[in-house]
Subunit: 351 residues, 2 copies
DNA sequence: CACCGTCATGGAATCGATTACACGGAGAAT
DNA sequence: ATTCTCCGTGTAATCGATTCCATGACGGTG
């Protein structure tokens, strides 16, 4: 592969001049520029990004470590991250942790070894020493969706509290009182927050959330299936199951079907994270939708702010309830979902 | 960030010795090794992969350019590619083309600029000059799923011909005779092949495939919706619609529902590419399943063979029919799907 | 005409690793 | 005792770019 030296030789100039032409430095004569450009495309020369990165100490690359690519929510997030990054002149390397802390660490390590300019993370756990170390060592970093409390890193996420209240209001209006939740791992913020938001919303109606109605899941379909089986085996099973992510809802649907029951007739189902398929399931699933695309864009912008020396901002965007048929038919219209979502931004790093 | 020089200074040896320790070169004294290792972890030293790549002219990184990350088929493919690559000591950089040739070119260009060791591509179109040039210039390359005829690059893909025959037999047994297909772009192999396989299978039953029954799609949900609307507007609409990928099937489902019709009562639906959600749609969708995971692994192995100088093999794995309820209830059992899938491999590059 | 500032250009250092080569010392072979 | 090997180690070149500094030409000004 042709190097800058070959171009210099072919154009009859020095490598310095070639470099100037390629980086559009002002002081190059039109004649030299023309000869260099000619040589460049007759040789099919492409600058070596590896060498350039070594010299300039920047790679114009962002790392994105997500918990599970197979989860459509994260896929969409990854896509919007890449899109925004590309628009701003950066590439993205995606690492899929598959909800496993050691794989997550593997990706963080290789990304840092490659000297990516910044790291976007949706942590699988409460924070491995490696990641905390990377943050402390000054790797520009931003958390998306999930975050680690007590670490000085900006967070871009969505607040589901209001939407969960809307959901509970909806369920209450339909006459449901025995409400259960399938939670995510307690070590993740989204795992614990969603349970808390649910518990608070229930309390407003004087409904309690007994331990038997809290299923312990891990954001994967299988765990949703097992938790649901356990609910169904109770002497007094819940009337509605709320899954803290879309894959566990899928598992719940499996379990309900396997038990020969029907949604919503025998039991209701709702999910956190809306996805296109929920429109087409039997029945369509009521879900809480995050502004995924905006989240991805905001995260990239925050990270690039941090990289380029501007003060990064934590961002919290509201989620909203999308009512469908999986919790029962509503006679009267459901409570209007918040339809004027307003972003709240703060300069505090950790909201 | 600490460099190899800092480690050398801290350990009281030369950089050469440090390098030898890190690359487990045999001739280093136990004493020196211990001092180096001590310095490495007291400094938290991590080798700079950029510098190493520049010197060794290899990045231990593979590029994967896929047509659409949001398509669950490609997501799964990407995941298995990354998994296998990681097991073999390589990283993967994913580029999402979103079915747009210019974005595809953008990714090919940046990946080549980064001097990735090899490229896995599922081309969006018939082959841009850039990609053909890269192949000819000797970038190790393997096509997955889709390929470009006439280019000397190994292909790892799945053959759906037999499964399509099974599907048509199934539909015929259910009494359906007016069968339509929503095709992908003719510029992609999977776009044209699936139509051809369908046409041939129909011919075996003396059924023809009129132009009005061929919808032109682009592998996106919207195009499936539009094609289906057009089918439904025909004076004699088809009895079954076969979508050439899962997203177009989703669009078809939308259009059918919007028209106030029911699947399979009013019209049947089948899809190429099986995904977990098809079990839960209303009704569950009959689909042709590719061995996606195996495809990804085989592609990585072929590419690494090529990179490491072994002769790479093209691989073709069979797809199989998964019968569900979206084409009508079967009284008698459907024809047995091929349940002993056998791989065919060849040393010819382009099958 | 002398001087100075500006501009185009090239030489060479540099980034952080790997590795060929040279060298000194210890132990084996004669 | 002398020579030969082999081993551990260091010096320095190298990969392909960017960029500081020096240089020479040229034009304008006093």
């Amino acid at each position: 592969m042709a190097s800058i030296k070959d171009v210099a030789a072919a154009a009859g100039v020095s490598v310095a001049t070639v470099s100037r032409v390629l980086n559009s430095h002002p002081s190059v004569s039109p004649d030299a520029r023309a000869r260099v450009l000619g040589a460049v495309d007759s040789l099919g020369y492409r600058p070596n990004a590896v060498a350039r990165s070594l010299r300039t100490a920047q790679t114009r690359t962002l790392g994105l470590v997500i918990s599970d690519v197979l989860n459509p929510y994260f896929t969409e997030l990854a896509r919007s991250v890449e899109e925004e990054a590309r628009a701003l002149g950066y590439s993205v390397i995606i690492g899929n942790a598959d909800e496993q802390p050691d794989i997550q660490d593997h990706h963080v390590r290789t990304l840092v070894d490659r000297r990516i300019d910044g790291l976007l993370v949706s942590p699988t756990d409460g924070g491995s020493p490696l990641m905390l170390e990377a943050a402390r060592a000054g790797t520009p970093m931003v958390f998306v969706d999930r975050w680690i409390p007590g670490v000085d890193v900006p967070v871009v996420r969505s607040d589901g509290r209001a939407a969960v209240r809307d959901l509970v209001a909806h369920l209450h209006a339909l006459g449901h009182r025995r409400l259960a939740i399938i939670a995510g791992p307690a070590a993740t913020t989204t795992g614990s927050e969603r349970v808390e938001a649910f518990r608070e919303a229930l309390a407003a109606y004087g409904i309690s959330l007994p331990d038997a109605y809290i299923g312990q899941g891990d954001f994967q379909a299988d765990s949703g299936r097992r938790a649901t089986e356990r609910f169904l085996a109770l002497s007094e099973p819940p009337e509605v199951v709320f899954a803290a992510d879309n894959l566990m809802a899928l598992g719940a649907l499996d379990a309900i079907r396997a038990a020969g029951l029907r949604v919503p007739h025998d039991i209701g189902l709702a999910a956190f994270d809306d996805i296109p398929w929920f429109v087409h399931t039997d029945p369509p699933v009521t879900a809480i939708a995050q502004p995924t695309k905006e989240l991805g864009r905001a995260a990239v912008r925050a990270l690039i702010d941090r990289i380029e020396g501007r003060p990064p901002q934590s961002v919290t965007l509201p989620a909203r309830l999308v009512v469908r048929r999986s919790c029962g038919e509503t006679k009267s219209p459901a409570p209007a979902p918040a339809d004027t979502p307003t972003a709240t931004t703060s300069t505090r790093r950790n909201p």
